[in-house]
C-alpha cells in the first residue's frame, strides 16, 4: 500500500511538473512571456478583457486565460524598467461616455502572441475584433497602467483590459473610460486569427522604448 501511494505521488508530481507554466522575463530582449490559453467563449461573445489570470475574478471573462499571477506580472514589468501610470481611479470608471472619460497613462507596451503553428508573432491588435458605433477604428495603445493596489485588494486577475481601466495591469489608452459604458466600442476575439478553444499560447509583452 505504501509503495502504491509513493508511486502515485511520484506520478502526480511528474505530471504537474510536465505542465508547469512559468512567467519568463528576458531582460536582454526587454520582454516578458506569459503562458496562456484561448477561451473559445470570447471568440463569439463580447468582452473587455484580453488576458486574465485563471484564478482571478475575471479569469473566465477574457479572450485569453493567463496561467500565472497578474501580481508577478506587475513586478516583472517593473523589473524590466516599465513605469506604471496609476492615473485611473475607480470613480473614473463611472464616466458615461468617452468624452467624460480618462485615458490610461504609463509606459507604452507592444503585445504579440505565438502558438504552435502560428507562423510567427501575431500582434494582439490582429487577434481582437473592435466594433465601434461610428466605424471609428483605433490602433491599440497598450500602457503599463499599474493599478497594483486594486489588483492586490480585489484580485480581479486582469492582465490586459481592452479599454482604459482601473483594474488592469495593462490597459488600452486608445479607448478612454466611459467608451464601453456608452456602447461606443465592443471587443471580441478574432476566430479567424486565434487558434481554437483551449490552445496554449505565449503572450509576449515588450517595452516600447
Amino acid at each position: 500500500m505504501k509503495k502504491f501511494i509513493l508511486a502515485l505521488l511520484v506520478i502526480t508530481s511528474c505530471v504537474s511538473l510536465a505542465f508547469a507554466e512559468e512567467l519568463i522575463i528576458n531582460k536582454e530582449a526587454g520582454e516578458i512571456i506569459v503562458p496562456a490559453e484561448v477561451n473559445g467563449k470570447y471568440l463569439v461573445s463580447p468582452t473587455k478583457h484580453a488576458l486574465s489570470y485563471f484564478k482571478g475574478g475575471n479569469g473566465e471573462k477574457a479572450i485569453l486565460r493567463a496561467l500565472v499571477s497578474e501580481l508577478d506580472y506587475y513586478h516583472a514589468l517593473v523589473e524590466l524598467g516599465a513605469v506604471p501610470g496609476d492615473n485611473i481611479k475607480a470613480e473614473d470608471m463611472k464616466a458615461k461616455s468617452s468624452a467624460e472619460g480618462k485615458r490610461t497613462e504609463g509606459s507604452k507596451l507592444s503585445v504579440f502572441l505565438t502558438w504552435e503553428g502560428s507562423n510567427g508573432e501575431v500582434p494582439l491588435d490582429d487577434a481582437v475584433i473592435t466594433t465601434t458605433a461610428n466605424g471609428d477604428v483605433r490602433k491599440m495603445d497598450l500602457r503599463f497602467s499599474g493599478n497594483l493596489e486594486f489588483a492586490s485588494k480585489y484580485r480581479p486577475g486582469c492582465f490586459i483590459c481592452l479599454d482604459s481601466c482601473a483594474a488592469g495591469i495593462n490597459t488600452n489608452a486608445a479607448w478612454p473610460t466611459g467608451a464601453m459604458n456608452n456602447k461606443e466600442v465592443s471587443f471580441k476575439g478574432n476566430a479567424k486569427v486565434l487558434p481554437p478553444d483551449g490552445t496554449k499560447v505565449n503572450v509576449i509583452v515588450r517595452l516600447v522604448k
Binding site: N39, V44, S45, P46, K48, R65
Partner: protein
C-alpha cells in the same frame, strides 16, 4: 417531478443565455452559477405550485419547452454562438475550464433527448 426538473433546466438555460446578451451582466457573474440557481428555483416553483405542476407534467409540454428553448437559443446566439455559449455556461458552472465544448454539447443533446424520452414514460404515472 422529472418533467418539472426537465422544464426548469430548459427554461433556465434560455433565461441565462438571454441575460448574457447584456455584456455588463456577463462580465460580473458566474454564468453557470446563475444557470444552476435559476434551474433550482424554477424546479422548486414548478413542483410546489400544483396548477403549474399539472400543466407542466406532460410530454407535450416538455416537447414544447424543448422546441421553444432551441428556437430561442438559435435566435439569440445564431449559428456561430449556438455550439459555444450554452456549453460555456455549463463549463463555468462546473468550474472545469478545460472541458471541451464538443463533449459538453454531446452531453447536453443526450440530456435533452434522453430527458424528453424519460418524460414520455414518467408523465403517465405522475399525474
Amino acid at each position: 417531478m422529472i418533467a418539472c426538473l426537465y422544464n426548469a433546466l430548459l427554461w433556465s438555460m434560455l433565461i441565462t443565455v438571454a441575460n448574457l446578451q447584456n455584456e455588463w451582466f456577463d462580465m460580473r457573474v458566474n454564468t453557470g452559477g446563475i444557470f444552476f440557481a435559476v434551474a433550482f428555483v424554477l424546479a422548486l416553483l414548478f413542483s410546489m405550485i400544483k396548477p403549474l405542476r399539472k400543466k407542466l407534467n406532460s410530454f407535450a409540454m416538455c416537447f414544447f419547452s424543448l422546441v421553444i428553448t432551441c428556437a430561442g437559443l438559435f435566435y439569440l446566439l445564431g449559428i456561430e454562438g449556438l455550439p459555444v455559449i450554452p456549453a460555456s455556461v455549463i463549463r463555468e458552472g462546473l468550474m472545469q475550464n478545460h472541458l471541451d465544448f464538443h463533449v459538453i454539447n454531446i452531453a447536453l443533446i443526450a440530456a435533452a433527448l434522453g430527458g424528453l424520452i424519460l418524460t414520455l414514460f414518467t408523465t403517465k404515472y405522475e399525474r
